[in-house]
Amino acid sequence: MPFALPFDMTSLDLLMAIAAAATVLLYLFGTARLGGYLATLLHGAALAVTVAMGLDLAAGAGAIPSSLRLTVLGQQLAWTLDGLGWFFLLLTTGAAFFSSWYMAGEWGRVQQRARIQHGTLALNVLTMVLLLSAGDLLGLFIGWEFVSWAAFAMMIQAGGPATQAAYRYMLYALAGAMALFAAILVVHGAAGGFGFDQMRAALPDMSTGMLWTLFALFAGGFGVKMALVPTHLWQAPAYSYTPGASSAFLNAVSARMGLFALILSLVKLIGFDTLAGLRIPMTGIESTDILAWVAAITMVVPTYIALMQTDARMLLTWHGIGQGGYMLLGILVATPLGVAGGLLHVFNYATYQMALILAVFAVIHRTGTADLDELGGLITRMPLTYVALLMGIIGLAGLPPMNGFVSKWMIYKALIVTQQPLLSIAAFVGTLGTILSVYKLIHNIFLGQLRVEHREIREAPWSMTLPMLVLAGIGFVTGFAPGLALSIVDQAQAAMGVALLPHHLGGVVLATGSLNMLWVVGVLVGAIGVGALIFYVLGNRRFETHQYDNYAGGHFLSADIRYHFSHEFYPGLARVIGPWYRGWVVRMEHGLGVLAEVSGDLWHGVFRAAYTPLYVLIVAVLGLFWAGGAGGFGS
């Protein structure tokens, strides 16, 4: 315990108290002048407590219990945080800290309902604390519902199209939650309780069918939150229409709760060994293979949907779905390298995706639009935002020197080492699509012709640019020295019961090809310096010309002509892969909706028909004859 707490509080208690206090205080005072800074302070305190907990855990504390206990209907509920939960908790409080910082200044003043935004953000943090520290399956389910509905509250606040998106999310989330409910009931039926230990003890006695059911229900239930194909349709619109910092928070950690729960249920409780024993008869296909392929499809398909988006928010959120596939795939490799890669990607993704979303919302804040066809040339007006976005897209595309490269490298590597060529090809192909897509993003917003109406745009205020630059900076630092982030990942990996991956500050040493980012980034930066030297020393002095001073085919291009090449940025590609977008998932969803409607209408018909007595007649007559036939009467 690095610091003493009053009343025998554990640090988890303190964290819960801070989160609960933040929820109430921010809902009350979020709109006040300094409300935003209060939020930053509170979330900063939560982050500090989380870091302190991490030090405890690293010192060998094992798990941090909470003194909160409840006994309801014979069910004991308790909360304990272990390394796995802590890892995700760090992301949560960190993301909340940066989100609230972003909202603290000008953003909060122009938003009409800042207190709702602050309040729901704090509520999300609180519910996530409860989920991440759940001590048994019932607590997990309750936490899961809390998190789902807190996210719903966050999404629906914006109104307009957000309402529909949030509604759709709610249906998906609830369907997932019901699958989860079924899963914990199956466990209860087999183990006689909801405890984690009870479940582990009951596992050896479970039949294969029951294990398959559990696997399917857990994977399906939690997969919805991760937006694994084919349950992915809700995520992009729901996250996109959520305002600013809340959207960044949702993107960075909300879907990751699904990953946490999947790891908890499949890896920590059921275990890789049991899962590997689950095979489809007559084939060698294991249960995890199925999930790995779902993850692979999730990497590829949403990425190429992102490529076709014309809204910057949509583009990023669709990529978020794809990135989730990488994380899951890495973990399913089940080697120390793969698991570390998957978890590291969770961390890395949180940093660059937040930077990206915040940057895009800064652009929206200034220009009022995120339509990629309506922007252009903002690099001269919003250079800092541009830098944040640039570093973000390099991370998202997984190129050196940003941290996204490191985790993706580990995932590719793990797949190749375990001889899974098709999955690794899928991972590579997903990345290729990402590169195309992020270039379109940065090009259409920041490069090319500046629109006349954006000539007087100012850079976003410091309260907004600083958080995203700091996040991008974290992305760079952990790309340069991934060992920093890998030590954090170690906590989670140890709690999962997976062997730790030996690493050093710069990366990992493997017999089959190592990675030392200190060298890679060092040389890259040095080489760019050499490039700068060559550029500036050799040749004549350059002179800068105005953006509008351009010729195309000998014709002068002036500001009043819109010539920014942004609409349908990849026409050739669209022509080839366009026909592949059949929208079969959309049709499936639509079909389910229609099925519900038709059956609903059918029942309406039944209730409206005045002839219910007819059924009663049939039942009664049959019953009477049955009884009569058995000689029950008249004796």
């Binding site: 992009a236 959309v586 639509h590 209408d601 309406h604 007559v621």
Partner: protein, 156 residues
């Protein structure tokens, strides 16, 4: 004598079942509210008959106790409980019938018809029944976003 009694018992049951079936037919098939109410009456009569038959003993005396409780020696009595029940049931039946007829009158006053279909339609119009059923196939798009088809953000 016993043959006849057994036959009588069977006949009573058969009659009860027939009345019940007739009553059900009367409630289900006709479209006139009056006829339906009369079907109900038939049905109740059938049930009452069944009840009485359940307590019937061919060779028993009426369960009327006069003076000292010695009748038992004279032979078996008919079970009095079903008869008491039937009395109550008849009374209740009459009450319900009266209420039903009163409602029939009110319906006739309100809608000017006793045809069940016509009444149902008028009721539907009055309470704004779900158009989903009345106009089959005319589902309004957008009422349910899940089934509203592809939206711009789903897929390009």
């Amino acid at each position: 004598m016993t043959m006849d009694a057994e036959m009588l018992g069977k006949a009573l049951y058969a009659g009860a079942v027939c009345l019940v079936l007739l009553g059900l037919y009367g409630m289900v098939v006709p479209r006139n509210l009056m006829r339906i109410v009369l079907g109900l009456v038939l049905l109740e009569s059938g049930v009452n008959l069944f009840l009485v038959a359940a307590g019937f003993r061919a060779d028993a005396a009426a369960p009327i106790l006069t003076a000292p409780f010695t009748a038992q020696a004279a032979g078996p009595l008919v079970d009095p409980v079903p008869q008491a029940l039937v009395l109550t049931a008849i009374v209740i039946g009459v009450g319900v019938l009266a209420l039903g007829l009163a409602l029939v009158v009110r319906v006739k006053e309100a809608y000017g018809t006793l045809d069940t279909h016509a009444v149902a339609n008028r009721m539907a119009r009055e309470t704004g029944a779900d158009p989903a059923v009345t106009a089959a196939g005319a589902r309004t798009p957008g009422a349910l976003p899940v089934a509203a088809g592809r939206t711009a953000e789903d897929a390009p």
